[in-house]
């Protein structure tokens, strides 16, 4: 009696594993239409890919089925990986979730396995051997597609994070020689570093003499980031610019005092309005009302 021990198996029949695989692939190709149809029904029943139309699901199902069978046949997975990434690029913007992609691949695996049960139901030994050839390949396929999808998602997330980081640290010129850097949200060391680099470049480009860094929109700051802020102030001075920090929350003020920041080095004002007014004074501007506002 042949024992099934994971992948290692005693072949009692005369077929080699590759021959079995060929037989299996032939069966999957012959019954392509029917099996694909069955799969699409299962997908709909499981309420997966609801973001896509019936036509789209059919088209993608055809591609996936063919890629699946090809991977089984050639026992190579590069083409499948490339297809998985390509597919992910298309469907992620449509709002398709990871569990849906993993779900449909597993459903296909089930549909194909069931058809194998049906075909070899009279020959249990042969069924076992066929499954021995099918299962490792099918698992690898499911893995490849799922991982491909997740990798693409991660790439998109990284891209978006980068875009958000850039957008969220604008350096704005509000007067000649006066820059404002409004910071909103969470500052991590990476963002702090990017902020500093952007500011220093902005000082040089705009020939700024005063910079107002407003941190009203920053809820909390840890010691590392507080030090980054101090360094930003010092580096700006080396470029001949004075920095005024505005909008320190009580919590941040506490942090700065706790870490022993030399507040003599830092020019701080309560709010942004006050900061801009002081900056204007430093630059020699005076704001005068000309007439009654209408």
């Amino acid at each position: 009696m042949p024992k099934r021990e994971g992948r290692g198996v005693e072949l009692v029949g005369s077929e080699a594993p590759s021959e079995l695989l060929r037989e299996l692939v032939a069966h999957l190709r012959q019954n392509r239409t029917q099996l694909r149809e069955e799969w699409v029904v299962r997908i709909t029943e499981a309420r997966l890919l609801t973001a896509m139309t019936k036509e789209e699901i059919f088209a993608e199902a055809t591609s996936v089925y063919d890629s699946y069978v090809e991977a089984l046949e050639t026992e190579t997975f590069e083409a499948l990986q490339a297809y998985a990434r390509n597919l992910s690029e298309r469907i992620i913007p449509r709002g398709v979730e990871t569990h849906e992609v993993v779900g449909i691949v597993l459903l296909l695996r089930d549909v194909l396995a069931r058809s194998l049960f049906a075909k070899y139901q009279t020959d249990f030994k042969k069924l076992n051997r066929i499954l021995d050839a099918y299962e490792p390949a099918a698992n690898r396929i499911a893995n490849t597609v799922a991982v491909g999808f997740v990798q693409e998602r991660e790439r998109v997330i990284r891209q978006q994070q980068e875009a958000i980081r850039e957008l969220s640290t604008p350096v704005l010129q509000v007067r000649e020689r006066l820059l404002i850097l409004p910071i909103i949200g969470v500052i991590d060391p990476q963002r702090a570093r990017q902020l500093t680099e952007q500011l220093l470049r902005g000082i040089r480009t705009n020939r700024a003499k005063v910079v107002v860094i407003d941190i009203t929109g920053v809820a909390a700051m840890d010691v590392t980031v507080a030090n980054h802020l101090v360094q930003t102030v010092e580096a700006s001075r080396l470029l001949g610019a004075t920095v005024i920090v505005t909008g320190l929350s009580p919590e941040i003020a506490q942090t700065l005092v706790t870490i022993g920041v030399d507040l003599g080095k830092m020019n701080t004002v309560g709010d942004l309005q006050g900061g801009i007014e002081q900056a204007e004074r430093l630059l020699g501007y005076k704001v005068v009302t000309l007439a009654e506002p209408r």
């Binding site: 500093t196 680099e197 040089r204 020939r207 003499k209 360094q231 080396l238 001949g240």
Partner: protein
């Protein structure tokens, strides 16, 4: 390699080249002070635009130059520190404390003009 020192009225301008050895820096320090004495200059501008890296020795030398020149009653302004260099310097804790800085030569001269006007 000698650092060229130019005279512009009451201001001496020393322009650093890209790579200065420790010996060059020492030579500059003594040379500048001598010139300040010789021309009775009121200020020195050290232009480091061409420097793409600033180590602790260079930073210390600049501070020493500023202190020595102040003993002669003159002001020093360091100009032209590049953004990348400034960033690297503060991370190493080299802040050039007590030394005036400006964006470039033009700003440095404007700063001195303002300062002299105030004094006069």
């Amino acid at each position: 390699m000698e650092v060229p020192i130019l005279k512009q009225g009451e201001v001496l301008i020393a322009t650093f080249q890209a790579a200065l050895s420790d010996a060059d820096l020492n030579q500059l320090r003594s040379g500048l002070v001598r010139q300040v004495v010789k021309f009775r200059s009121r200020a020195v501008i050290v232009d480091v635009t061409a420097m793409d890296v600033m180590d602790s020795f260079a930073s210390r030398t600049l501070r020493e130059i500023a202190h020595m020149i102040r003993l002669r009653g003159a002001e020093t302004v360091i100009v032209g520190i590049q953004p990348e260099v400034a960033f690297a310097m503060v991370q190493l804790g080299l802040t050039l404390e007590g030394v005036a800085t400006a964006l470039d030569l033009e700003e440095g001269l404007a700063y001195l003009t303002q300062k002299f006007k105030n004094i006069n």
